[in-house]
């Protein structure tokens, strides 16, 4: 095997070749075996990664808005309610396996402990990885007071 010695390493090697004493035992009658290890210069294999600003990000796929919608400029959290009593709570399964059954258990819990809360379990109709459908969100805005959304996994 041939090695390419980096120029910086050559200087080093000129003055102090590295000797590794790796074996010295009585059974070899005191003979000392020495090995010379050459330094090798190699190239970083990583590929350049360029962070893109929101404006530079490519459009996606999967729906009219693209697979990934643009980042919102800012997110404002909705005003919280004082209580869930007598409110309508949508339980939205986004489509990952097990999500719908989990929402059914949330429904059961409210029936057991807070029966005045009206719960509506729903499966998000659009693609699991995209926000490509608005009908359910419009329905919730009109008829619902709050949403539990999940379960990502």
């Amino acid at each position: 095997m041939r090695f390419v010695i980096h120029p910086a390493a050559m200087i080093s090697l000129t003055h102090k070749v590295i000797f590794s004493i790796f074996h010295a035992t009585k059974s070899t009658k005191g003979r000392m075996q020495m090995a010379q290890e050459a330094l090798i210069s190699v190239i970083n294999p990583e590929t350049k990664r360029q962070k893109l600003s929101p404006d530079e990000r490519p459009p996606g796929f999967g729906g009219p808005q693209g697979f990934f919608r643009p980042h919102p400029v800012s997110i404002t959290l909705a005003e919280r309610m004082d209580t869930l009593e007598n409110k309508t709570l949508y339980l939205v399964d986004i489509g990952f396996g097990g999500g719908y059954n989990f929402m059914l258990e949330i429904q059961r819990w409210f029936a057991d402990h807070m029966p005045s809360v009206k719960t509506i379990p729903r499966r998000k109709p659009g693609f699991v990885f995209a926000d490509d459908e608005n009908a359910l969100w419009d329905e919730i805005k009109q008829d619902g007071d709050a949403v539990v959304l999940g379960v990502g996994g």
Binding site: T47, G98, G126
Partner: protein, 429 residues
């Protein structure tokens, strides 16, 4: 809104500026497959692993108590990467360890990419080292990964490729696909070579074509994985999420088609290339079933019917790899003169119960939305009783037939892998 995620995705939430500002609740993992009582008692009334508080209490609090919008953590910018920079000289053993520890390898020893070896690799193409071959976009981190001929020469050396293999490696890279996918599932990849270059490189399409015995098959396939790793696709909980992983990714099932022994036209000709062109084709999916025995008591169509019952196709996609003996039997004895004839036959004869189809996790997850949107035939299939038979291969053009093997036994491999692109190798010589 109270958004909920399984705790395993906490890193995604923390790294995504869209998610970090939201009051996420985490459940223990997994949610899927849990009984009603486990979901109720352990996941809902049990604690959020991130906070130690009951999940149901958090749901109620998040919906009824003022929430402060969380601020994204100011993160230190990732270390500036200078591709093709020369590293500090070191011993071979130390460099092997450094490459491994920095996550630049598949765990196996690599050929160290010295300037000399990289220059030699570049003699395998007339293209300039600075020429951009492609770019891939990392959606999770909003990063564009650009790679040149020179970058790929480095990773090709590492994989053990020779200059004559390099045009194949460049053609693979030109398709802009990582062999490793950022999914929690066990995605696998496959790589097929067609045309004269198969024999020029001494690739093995015969006995043991998929076995670890042939240099060109091994190193070309490995080169796709090494380049993907160096693009950054093997960083656990950043880009690598596959819970179990897939060992096919060591060389991506890299094989040439056995064109000489096939009774049908080669795969690349199916895709519009000329027979004398050399072409690489990529495939990906989750599951490959190796036939344990031959079609001794049932026809191969009946055998495939059983196999696709447990891995229903997404959008009719499947890749079936037949030993030349099987292809010859289908043509000479069963009258399927072309691959298309047999694909149509499969489309008409493979049938599974509708309930079995829809209760397949990935079908429900990825196809139900189309049924909900009224897309046919999915919308109609949703209305069927569970025991009604459906023919899930509605588009026979999405079934890929490939002939590989050494004719020691009439066997096959069935997969739901889809064809994800082909590229000319000759353009990169």
């Amino acid at each position: 809104m109270a958004p909920i995620s399984a705790y395993t995705m906490e890193a995604v939430v923390k790294n995504d500026p869209r998610a970090i500002v939201l009051p996420f609740i985490f459940t223990p993992n997994p949610v899927v497959g849990m009984s009603s009582e486990v979901l109720y008692k352990k996941l809902l009334e049990g604690n959020d692993p991130a906070t130690g508080r009951p999940v149901i209490d958090e749901i109620i609090d998040i919906l009824t108590k003022p929430q402060e919008k969380k601020k994204p953590e100011s993160k230190k910018e990732s270390e500036s990467i200078r591709p093709r920079e020369t590293l500090q000289p070191d011993t071979e053993d130390n460099l092997q360890q450094i490459f491994y520890e920095r996550g630049w390898t598949d765990g196996l020893p690599i050929i160290l990419p010295t300037e000399e070896r990289v220059h030699k690799m570049l003699t395998g193409t007339k293209r300039s080292p600075d020429e951009l071959v492609g770019e891939v976009y990392d959606h999770d981190h909003h990063e564009l990964i650009k790679y040149t001929v020179g970058d790929l020469a480095v990773t090709a050396v590492m994989a053990g490729a020779k200059p004559e293999h390099f045009p194949v490696v460049l053609a693979i890279a030109s398709l802009r696909q990582s062999s490793l996918r950022p999914s929690t599932t066990a995605f696998g990849s496959m790589l097929l070579v067609n045309g004269p270059i198969r024999n020029e490189l001494g690739m093995n399409a015969g006995i043991g074509a998929f076995s670890p015995v042939n240099q060109a098959n091994s190193v070309i396939g490995r080169a796709w994985t090494i380049m993907s790793i160096c693009w950054g696709y093997a960083k656990p909980k950043r880009t690598l999420w596959s819970s179990q992983g897939c060992n096919d990714l060591y060389n991506n099932m890299c094989v040439p088609e056995n064109e000489e022994r096939s009774v049908w036209i080669p795969f690349h000709v199916d895709k519009g290339y000329k027979p004398e062109e050399s072409v690489v084709s990529l495939f990906r999916g989750w599951s490959v079933i190796n036939s344990i025995g031959c079609a001794a008591h049932r026809s191969i169509t009946e055998e495939l019917n059983l196999e696709f019952g447990v891995m229903p196709p997404l959008h009719s996609r499947a890749t079936i790899i037949l030993d030349p003996l099987v292809a010859a039997n289908l043509k000479d004895n069963e009258g399927f003169h072309t691959k298309q004839d047999y694909c149509r036959h499969l489309s008409e004869n493979i049938k599974i119960p509708a309930g079995q189809y829809w209760k397949t996790d990935y079908i429900d997850m990825l196809i139900s939305s189309q049924a909900n949107a009224g897309v046919e035939p999915y919308a109609s299939w949703k209305l069927l009783p569970d025991d009604a038979l459906i023919a899930p291969f509605t588009n026979p053009e999405n079934i890929n037939l490939i002939v590989v093997g050494g004719e020691t036994s009439p066997l096959w491999k069935a997969s739901e892998y889809g064809h994800s692109g082909s590229a000319s190798i000759d353009e990169w010589r």
